[in-house]
């Protein structure tokens, strides 16, 4: 027997047998998500129109063979059609009792709207007559036929949509009617003819009358759509591999447009925006599915179905419960009611907002549907991040409203606050976004073609569509704030502006949109961070998470405020306090500059003496905030020229003064310029900074260590438990520590003896230079702790200057797949990670109780946190706002790798 390419929905057992036992994931890999779920629903007795699935393997074979069906596939499709015929009692192509089918894509991971669908396959001049006889509804049949011709024309034959839409608009105008539903059977019949002519004109051949030819071409079109630009872009953005292929689902057509006792809709079993345990969806009576999803007609809320079709609604509610119980997940379903009979066309795990994800996970665990561990695994760390994203300052919002800047209120489709300039198409949005502008993309509605612009935008605003429209679904998935259906926004695409109650917003004007409330404002509104302590579901989830994780979560905080916030988010220590940030403050910078430009040691020491009290009081605040917890303070790291004016600007100024003969201030400017030029480095990132600077100019770090220990002693005096850990940056050779560390410990001891106090402390180092990782055993002989500076470590290991790389080639590298991910966002495990692993192993060889952490940006990245777990670090340290994210990610890492 030939290889099995086609599975009836009833053949789930066979599919499971093929992929091996207990692997729903591999079943989805074979049949696609949609196909697998149709089969699953069939198995558990949910009413599903009969049909079958052509496997993803067939798609991959098709691509591999240069777009040829694999051997036996078509025969199996034909055989499956016979089975469907026998189940429905209809016959494909039979003018008397014709079977009509849909042909839909369905990949392992949902890619909504990205690939192709053809409905009503099987209609032709003959079967149309049979259908009219059967349904007695000529209007419906011709409407269906014209849909087939149009969809087949555009999807399968590649004819643009416009000629079809133009003819339809033209005809409506001629008839003087506003809506499709106002057209008669005669009208649709006429349009079928017109549409068929369009096909002939564009392709040179007639619309195929043979139903099997229709089916064959539609199957192929779905296969091909896997490699369409839209689909490829989407997969790149969503991180879906390109070699999975799509399955093709062929399913008996049911019709929601067979009159006002028919309908179609999409629904979530819980609210995907906030997680409430209530059905959440839209439907349309007398309509076909695409009408709802496209968001072109304004839909009704699912609850209204109870009034329109109470029996169908009751059955629908039961099925939703059954599905949730079965899948133990919130479901996103599509259904059609054909003359009061309910059919389920699809079920899948529902996409949801971050807020909903947390609430649903916590609720389901509390309902006993899933375990707490499951709940912890259910929520993406990125969702936690989203929940802590800033929203608009309520007062500023009120003020803006008073000023008349509230433009419109639409559907709150994807939460979050976004501020950006209006861009009226996806290309502009992408261009501006890549150039670093914050952009709000404004469209009547979005289509799959627009995804590149939507991803580049900070926010999306549409005037049409509902909560399940394309724009809403995509925005939610990628966490882009989004408002849809803001019908007060009257968009004029040609003039590239919109009018909202008389306020004109042009392309490039500032907009602020609140995805939480659905409000769109003119101008910019300042944002504030949400209150963590009010997010009770999240707090519950994170407390559950804490029970599972092994990694501690610390925070990077430079100021007492930060430290307090970090602690309230659950930080168990400060992993990085950057002392130099304190230098940049307004009243301190002049002293710092005086210190740098000092003519002699004495002048320098005077300036350092002035800086000491500032540093000490900062440290006191942090120690107090972190009472009882460790605080790692990093000694000065950046090159000194960062504290001086920009060389370029000063040069321009000096040249100008010289040429214009301005004498005033010139000598000072010139001498400052000379000082700055003397400090110029061709690659400052790899120049005189970090421990190198401390060795060449030890006064600064001695002052810092003095400030740390004075602060520690003072706080200890007040009863605070202080645990200072002094961190030396940029170590590359153990001898650097041998030179500087004893000198600094000397200062520490001196201060403690002056203050007559003994404080427990540690000295340690950043590991951010490849050589430090390679020679970690040597370095650990002196350093009591390591903290990975993965930004610099990534820069040096790759030989990338981050700024230059991201501006010039790094994004191209990620797009082309040369780098699977941006290594500055997620640790490159093979390269940088290998060095980190080496550092931990060698370091612990020399010092078994070595404390190892990470304080680079990666410390807040879930995939990187997992790696830190795997190489046995003690903690990760990240920005305060990412502490909750890290707590969850650390728990998931522990559970996943138990």
């Amino acid at each position: 027997m030939s290889y099995k390419w086609v599975y009836l929905f009833e053949e789930l057992d066979a599919a499971e047998k093929k992929v091996g036992p207990g692997s729903w994931d591999r079943v989805k890999g074979l049949l696609g998500g949609k196909g697998a779920n149709l089969a699953e629903m069939t198995r558990i007795g949910v009413p599903v129109p009969p049909g079958f699935t052509v496997t993803t393997e067939a798609c991959n074979e098709y691509q591999k063979a240069g777009e040829k069906f694999p051997e036996g596939m078509w025969d199996q499709e034909l055989a499956a059609m016979k089975q469907v015929e026998s189940k429905t009692g209809k016959k494909f192509g039979d003018p008397n009792n014709p079977l009509l089918v849909s042909c839909r894509s369905g990949a392992k991971f949902s890619m909504p709207g990205m690939m192709d669908t053809v409905l009503n396959i099987g209609l032709n001049e003959d079967t149309v007559q049979g259908m009219i006889k059967l349904t007695g509804d000529e209007r419906f049949v011709y409407d269906s036929y014209r849909r087939l011709v149009q969809m087949f024309g555009s999807v399968v034959l590649g004819i643009p949509d416009e000629p079809f839409e133009d003819e339809l608009d033209e005809h409506k105008k001629k008839k003087g009617v506003p809506s499709d539903t106002d057209l008669t059977a005669e009208d649709w019949k006429h349009l079928v003819g017109v549409f068929k002519k369009i096909v002939k004109e564009h392709k040179g051949f007639d619309f195929p009358q043979d139903p099997y030819e229709q089916l064959r071409l539609a199957t192929e079109a779905v296969f091909k759509s896997w490699n369409g630009k839209r689909a490829v872009d989407y997969r790149n953005a969503a991180g879906i591999p390109h070699d999975l292929g799509t399955a093709v689902n062929i399913q008996t057509m049911v019709f929601g447009n067979m009159g006002w006792d028919s309908g179609t809709g999409v629904n979530f079993t819980r609210n995907p925006a906030n997680g409430e345990r209530l059905l959440y969806g839209d439907y349309l009576l007398n309509a076909q599915g695409e009408d709802v999803v496209a968001g072109i007609r304004n839909t009704k809320k699912i609850a209204e179905l109870q009034n329109d079709l109470p029996d169908a609604f009751a059955q629908f509610v039961d099925i939703c419960k059954k599905l949730e119980l079965h899948y133990k997940e919130m479901q996103d379903v599509e259904f059609t009611i054909e003359r009061r009979r309910l059919w389920m066309l699809q079920t899948r795990d529902g996409k949801r907002t971050a807020k909903a994800a947390v609430k649903i996970a916590v609720d389901m665990a509390n309902e006993g549907l899933i375990s707490r561990k499951d709940a912890v695994m259910r929520v993406k760390p990125a969702d936690v991040d989203t929940l802590l994203h800033p929203g608009f300052d309520p007062d500023a919002k009120k003020a803006a409203a008073k000023e008349g800047r509230l433009l419109a209120k639409g559907v709150n489709a994807s939460p979050g606050a976004a501020v950006g300039v209006a861009a009226f198409d996806a290309d502009i949005a992408e261009e501006w976004g890549k150039a670093g502008k914050a952009v709000i993309m404004v469209r009547p509605f979005t289509k799959p073609d627009d995804v590149h612009g939507m991803l580049a935008a900070k926010g999306i605003l549409t005037s049409e569509g509902g909560a399940t429209s394309h724009a809403a679904v995509v925005a939610r998935q990628f966490g882009v704030p989004c408002i849809v259906g803001a019908s007060d926004v009257k968009i004029d695409l040609r003039a590239r502006q919109f009018n909202a109650h008389g306020v004109i917003v042009k392309e490039g004007d500032w907009l602020s949109i609140d995805g939480q409330t659905g409000e769109a404002f003119a101008g910019q509104i300042p944002t504030v961070h949400p209150k963590f302590e009010e997010q009770t579901d999240l707090i519950t989830l994170l407390c559950w998470a804490d029970e599972f994780r092994r990694l501690q979560v610390w925070a990077n905080a430079d100021y007492p405020d930060d430290a307090e916030r970090a602690r309230s988010f659950g930080a168990q220590g400060i992993g990085l306090c950057r002392t130099e940030h304190m230098f940049f403050e307004e009243e301190r910078l002049p002293i710092v500059q005086r210190m740098i430009l000092a003519k002699d040691e004495k002048e320098r020491d005077l300036a350092l003496d002035e800086l000491l009290p500032f540093q000490r009081s900062d440290f006191e605040g942090i120690f107090k905030a972190m009472d009882g917890l460790p605080v790692i303070i990093r000694l000065i790291d950046p090159p000194l020229h960062e504290f001086l004016p920009n060389e370029h600007d000063l040069l321009e100024k000096v040249i100008e003064k010289r040429i214009k003969g301005v004498k005033e201030g010139l000598p000072e400017d010139e001498s400052l310029l000379r000082a700055i030029q003397a400090m110029h480095e061709s690659n400052p990132m790899m120049g005189l900074r970090g421990v190198r600077l401390s060795i060449v100019m030890p006064g600064i770090v001695k002052m810092q260590v003095r400030a740390i220990f004075e602060a520690a002693c003072n706080m200890a005096q007040q009863g605070v438990t202080v645990k200072p850990e002094v961190m030396i940056p940029l170590t590359g050779h153990v001898n650097e520590l041998k030179v500087i560390q004893p000198a600094l410990e000397e200062v520490a001891k001196q201060v403690m003896s002056e203050k007559n106090r003994s404080i427990e402390y540690k000295f340690g180092t950043m590991i951010e230079i490849p050589r430090a990782a390679v020679t970690a055993d040597e370095i650990a002989k002196l350093a009591q702790f390591f903290s990975f500076g993965t930004n610099d470590l990534t820069q040096m290991t790759f030989g990338y200057s981050r700024d230059d790389a991201e501006a010039r080639f790094l994004l191209e590298y990620v797009e082309k797949g040369i780098l699977p991910k941006n290594p500055f966002q997620t640790i490159d495990r093979e390269g940088v990670g290998e060095l980190m692993k080496m550092a931990v192993q060698k370091g612990r060889q020399a010092r078994p109780d070595l404390e190892v952490g990470i304080c680079g940006e990666h410390g807040g990245d879930p995939a990187s946190i997992e790696f830190c777990h795997l190489i046995n670090q003690n903690y990760v340290s990240c920005s305060p706002f990412r502490v909750p994210v890290a707590r969850l990610a650390a728990a998931q890492a522990a559970i996943k790798n138990a």
Copy 2:
């Protein structure tokens, strides 16, 4: 019994027993080089004045204990003195028959003049009288006594030399005599009194009269001098560890200044300048040793001793032969003749010029004194380098002489040609040298205090002293060209100028000195490279070396000329041909700039088409020169902005034009400036260059590969055997190769098919990014060869930008011992080397026949070459002039690690 700190010269057996069998090196470690050799000479029957050695261990203990003699040491010294007394029949401090001794330092490695010596210890008011009775020479005795007071005063008590010298000069002036030898006993007696007063004035106590007090203080002074600034500087320069300590040699005084039948001298058993097998030395009659070495009196050539003192000379010749036979090395000896009796005071392996080193090694092997392997091990690779250093262009020299620019002819003390500006003291020489100026240091003579300036100078010129004077010895050791005793040069230190036959040369004026011939010229004379093929001894030695080495030696060559030269030096391939150097040539640069600034692909392709023929013809020349040998051509590496004008300069120009309202050329300048600014990178070393550039802009490398293969095919057509290897720079991730390598191989195949030829070729990559080393197994799946770019690899592994680091902290790091060596000169084995080892191992795992080499500067550094040998590389590649060095170093590495 207490620990043994003191060894009589007769106790060599005991010393050997202590350090373990067969280790002359460890004996020298214990007794110092001088002490060990005095003991050895005593053992083989050479006449050595009786004495003993206080060990280096005692010195180290002394330092460790905070400058206290270790327990038992002083008692052992006293006991040894008793032994010496019994051997000489004299008694220390006995007014009737006084024993006088010298006290000299002697470390494991010779540090000529760097540490302290005190002569005539034992003289005081009483013993002076006994000595006068014994010798009947009052003048000699008071001269000796004043020498003791002066030397003791300055060396032991730390009084400056000047007051002593001033009084001596004053007295000579008063007496109206020019020379010390004109002074009478009375004069010296008077001066002893004056000198003693100086001691009293400076120190507040009298010159010690107790001989044992003199001995104790002298011993301590020698110990202390180990950590004197001069000694530390010297060790830093010579790479001698600081923890060895010095021994102290106490030896019966013999006197070369006991009349005209006495004398003293220093001598090499062969000519240390050119290696000739002839005694080479100087002596003075009626003088003490320091007079000869200091170069203050003009010495006589050793051959003249045959006339002055024929018996002593004959004995001396025999002893020299005996020593060479014994040590199997050319010896550097010191001797004294006291009333016709010959005493040997020191022997050690003689320092020599590079030329002499090679000749002596080859001669000794040919004489059967040593093996060929020994000969190969005897010559330092640096010596080979020196031999290939440029000398002056003979025609230019002749012309300069005709123009009257030949200033003087002195003793050719250290070979090599040097051009620099005159600096009249060591501090100026150092200051200017560090600032990057080429400096010739000009002094009447040099002292150990001057070493820092001598090391910073390109050449040294003294008006006094002979071939064994301080200046000559130090210059030879560090390979600095040097002329001594150029008595026509009349130096006026106060006016900071010299006068040579009326030509005035001021500080800062240009000088050219030829250390080979001893000629000094005014102005600058161009240099040329010496002819390798005429250096027959070197060629012989290198041929012997080739028999021992495993590593191949390739060369870095960008032009056909270079390649030919490299081949003549013995290169077995081209390891690095930098294609971008070709871009900088005058006629090409404008095309390159046009290519870079091209508005579109078409314009760029046009410029590339113009460049192609240039590149092709370069490659043709190289392939031809390397007929039959592999040629690795590296594709473009630097960032494109390197080919454009300097941003800074252009900015100044534009600002100036703008302010002055100059319109002409402004738009062009501004648009060029914009283009350059758009390319600006904050850390260009880690930006868009190497393979990254090739991926973003593949046109350039495709052109280059086309040029390579067109050249290869054309040459093959002419019968040349071409072995092109295309090298991709800066790879950090295997995916970079996956993208670019197939595209380039495609071009190669296309060209070969056009030319209808099949050429064997390889594609490979530089390993210069840490990540490439870490993931070498992945990279070797595509790359057929690796070539370590150790400059960049060192930069990234250390996180050092070489330019910035060397200007700002690297030298300080080396001085402070934070880095044992400059890692850009010698591979850092622990860090960078560890990554290299990993790369070789992982690379060969994936591809067992992987060809591995190095093309960084380190490829010509002997210590680095040894490391390349140890990690099993196939070859090293270095600049053509270093190929002979590398051949020798590779042989030594193989022999050493056999």
